[in-house]
Subunit: 162 residues, 2 copies
Amino acid sequence: MRIRAFEDADWPAVYTIIREVIDGGETYAYDPDWTEQECRQVWVGPAPSITVVAVGDDGTILGTAHSGPNRPARGSHVSTASFMVSSKARGQGVGRALGLYVLDWARSAGYHGMQFNAVVDTNTVAVKLWHSLGFETIGIVPEAFDSLAHGLVGLHVMYQKF
Amino acid sequence: MRIRAFEDADWPAVYTIIREVIDGGETYAYDPDWTEQECRQVWVGPAPSITVVAVGDDGTILGTAHSGPNRPARGSHVSTASFMVSSKARGQGVGRALGLYVLDWARSAGYHGMQFNAVVDTNTVAVKLWHSLGFETIGIVPEAFDSLAHGLVGLHVMYQKF
């Protein structure tokens, strides 16, 4: 597996992962009614944000992430990031590899830290992964996510200072 | 003072307040380079969001607020809101009146609660006001706001369950 910058030719594979994650209803408060173009605008933002893909040894897109400022202007020194992994590639360390890559990028780009705004509490793989990579849960907004399988569950706000 | 729905004719007065607040650099991570049209898109969103104004007895616009879902789809049962008061109208209870109005609206609209994502820690008037109106601080993201007067200060994530 290697991580590299997103290229236009990656979009169909990335979009397949985004749709799979949205339709799963477990991890993202993204709108199922978004068009393909709206999904692309959310995931592939303009600079200074970056979008990357994790590519398997056979060239398959295994996962994707994007990162950039969490807020404009007076909040732009804190980064944020989002991650999606194909269901076919779970348990192979793809999320961890993407996380390490994005954290390294954000440090190098001069951000002061990274904030996650909405990590679903029942997404225990993600919660454990981010804690293991140095994030702390600042607080949990109770019942803020309507999980397809679990009903109303909390959303973690996480932060890591660089 | 009364609170009513925003009308197109209110925009010049509302924009004056927005610019004053942005340029003050103390309370919002909004981009000073946003055009007037971009400011309007941020403050006057499409339904189901609402925008309201606080109007003084002489017809002056004293403050403004907008409210709507904090997230799309599986997060859309939690509301959020933003508030700005003209510097000429501080200390008159305008923020409190707008807060009570918006909370009442969000309850009536069926939201489960209201979340504030970024209340600046040194904006003590706002922090005290929201606590007095039933919000609790879920957590403070450290040094996430670059205050013009105070440097790097925390951002409160607040929540109130209805």
